[in-house]
Amino acid sequence: LMSAPVALAQDQILIKFSHVVAPDTPKGKGAEKFKELAEKATAGKVKIEVYPNSQLYKDKEELEALQLGAVQMLAPSLAKFGPLGAKEFEVFDLPYIFPNKEVLRRVTEGPIGKQLFSKLESKGIIGLAYWDNGFKIMSANKPLIKPEDMKGQKMRIQSSKVLDAQMRALSALPQVMAFSEVYQALQTGVVDGTENPPSNMYTQKMHEVQKHATLTDHGYLGYAVIVNKKFWDGLPADIRTALDGAMKEATAYANDIAQNENDVSLAQMKASGKTQFHEQTKEERAAWVKALMPVHKDAESRVGKDLIESIYKEAAAAGFKM
């Protein structure tokens, strides 16, 4: 079922890189950057075609398409790997598992990230890099100061067992809903609130239809750039090295853009005055952490206690006690 590298004229290697967001998002720009760097680094021996906006494959089918060899490269959100059989990846969805970006980097760029990627190999997938979208803020039409404020709120989430548990831990009512429907659902009141990194909230104009948001930074949203294993293993070693190098550079670029977009988006939303943004005090944050820590415990049976604790260790090494 797996396809060998597609040979073009003059033995050029074609990589179809498909993703589900717009070209002008951090991920979209990262994909374009990788195309540019990789084609240069391989002196044109590799041609990369980027298909944005789910043009070829949608969110729900792209992983199967990659496994079939219909596309070679994807950048799905990390929540997609759980249903694939790599439940360990659900750890990324755990609330407050990464106290800050430093701890996140220690995980994604260190041995834990590598170990997680190794879980994908039996699924015919090689993980190349972790790309940020950012840390999430919680929004609704009422102030969300204490965790109790979440009670009974209908909160949009993307399909994920951990996010479901997180909302339930706050006595909120999670509603699974496609990203594209969220704006209208918030506008009309089908759901009360949602969680997003600032850039997603801003590009979908959700700040126009949310009265309040709290800068909780409670969870992380990220992607993994992955390739079809058979395709990757079949590439000449020098090409693989060149692509690895290009990916490293593209990753730094994409993550910088993501951070920058989040900063700019937050500033723009604040300036618009349509949403009231609340900065948490130390005590408030502690209350949210306390309310949400049981989610870690519950997730142990799914993602593994060892994995969670190894991340605690990285946090401790960075000076955070969990």
Partner: protein
């Protein structure tokens, strides 16, 4: 070149009379098999995931709701209400037919269903009152087309499905809200044509209903009319997403038909379920294959290249829209709306967006085109349905519909070149 092969093959297969869904699927299979490196297993995946989307599920729900209403006595009560309101004007029962079609269109998502529901009751009544058969047939065939313009509308859902993935793709809610004003406008125009011709030929009018009679008719049709509130009110106020509203409409219509109006015995419910499932499956099967087809086109970069080519022609918005209308009217000669929208929209939409046309305006103009297509031969579902009810031949019917069809064409021109007709209302409500 590839574009020519793909369209040539599709056209050849379609003209053999095989189901459109099969011609789409076979075109994709043969092309993938002989001419590309796309692994053919992707087809099996797409055949499942092509319809794996919650928005699409509005279609079976609306069909189910519509079937409960058609089989129940909702249509008859709407006709009585309409008759009490406008029956005393020129056109009498005919005018009431237009209004009843518009009312029924507001609870049903399909045009042929509207023709059946209203036509099978009002046409015999009109003949009994001394109207020529072709007058009533013309009214119902064309007014029934309001079924897809006045929300809810299955073809609007199809349009949203066909444009999914494009960053400017409209939402079902936006399309529904945008259909309200054009729908009322077209109903008014069709009503005017009816009134004018009835006055000219001196057709019978009814005695004016008293206030009490009107209130009685309103009260009796109340439960049916309330569905309009459930669907549109529900979507607009945010109680439901469009798909949820459709499911609620189905449950509501079931309760009204079986328990409130008691027009349908419980024993007939399984048959209604089966018919609705079968009709939905047929549409979903077309969608699946059309999604497959548009996947093939995207892989071959055909819409992108076609968009570039059309933009190179520098034809401008005015000419482009004219071309779109001609193309769609031509397609309306051979295919039914769902297939046309699913095949043409993915190609035309990107160009329209590049030309700066509003996605919702473009959608409504496509819908009005589809309405026209349903009312003229050789292929026109409404015409067939009306012919089934009236036992009139298609040629005879074609002559009968022309005054109203002409009205629709004039309206099509207005919708095409006056975007405000479409966009004013959704903008007023802050929906776009």
């Amino acid at each position: 070149m590839n574009a020519a092969i793909i369209f040539g093959l599709l056209l050849a297969l379609m003209l053999t009379g095989m189901p459109i869904s099969i011609s789409l699927g076979l075109t994709v299979l043969s092309f993938l098999f002989f001419l590309t490196n796309v692994p053919i297993d992707a087809v099996a995946l797409k055949l499942f995931t092509g319809i794996e989307k919650f928005e699409i599920m509005a279609i079976p729900f609306f069909i189910l709701a519509g079937n409960f209403l058609t089989h129940g006595g909702v249509a008859r009560r709407m006709i009585n209400f309409a008759t009490a309101m406008v029956g005393h004007w020129h056109g009498g029962l005919g005018l009431a037919g237009v209004m009843a079609c518009a009312l029924f269109a507001a609870v049903s998502g399909s045009s042929p269903a509207t023709v059946v529901a209203i036509g099978s009751i009002i046409l015999p009544a009109m003949v009994a009152q001394g109207f020529p058969k072709n007058f009533g047939a013309g009214i119902v065939t064309t007014s029934g087309a309001l079924g897809i313009l006045i929300p809810p509308s299955i073809v609007m859902v199809m349009y949203c499905v066909a444009t999914t993935g494009h960053p400017q793709a409209p939402s079902i809610g936006q399309m529904f809200i945008a259909g309200v004003v054009p729908g009322i406008m077209l109903a008014t125009l069709l009503g005017f044509t009816t009134w004018y011709r009835a006055r000219k030929f001196g057709y019978p009018r009814l005695p004016k209903a008293s206030g009490a009679q009107r209130i009685k008719a309103l009260r009796e049709s109340f439960w049916g009319l309330l569905l309009i509130v459930v669907v549109m009110g529900g979507i607009y106020s945010g109680i439901f997403t469009p798909t949820e509203a459709a499911a609620m409409a189905a449950v509501y219509a079931f309760i009204v038909a079986v328990f409130i109006y008691k027009d349908m015995p419980l024993s007939r419910v399984p048959k209604v379920l089966l018919d609705s499932a079968s009709m939905s499956a047929m549409l979903l099967y077309i969608i699946t294959n059309a999604v497959l087809f548009s996947f093939l086109m995207t892989s071959e970069q055909i819409p992108q290249n076609m968009a570039a080519w059309i933009l190179d022609q520098n034809m401008g918005v005015w000419v482009f829209l004219l071309v779109v209308n001609i193309l769609l009217l031509a397609a309306g000669n051979f295919m039914e709306p769902s297939s046309i929208v699913l095949i043409m929209a993915p190609i035309l939409f990107p160009v329209a967006m590049k030309l700066g046309i509003d996605p919702v305006h473009f959608g409504i103009l496509i819908i009005v085109n589809m309405e026209v297509g349903m009312c003229h031969p050789p292929v026109g579902l409404n015409l067939y349905v009306a012919s089934g009810i009236t036992k009139m031949g298609i040629t005879e019917l074609t002559v009968a519909v022309w005054p109203w069809l002409l009205t629709m064409l004039i309206f099509l021109g207005m919708v095409t070149y006056i975007p405000a007709i479409t966009l004013w209302f959704p903008r007023l409500l802050g929906f776009m």
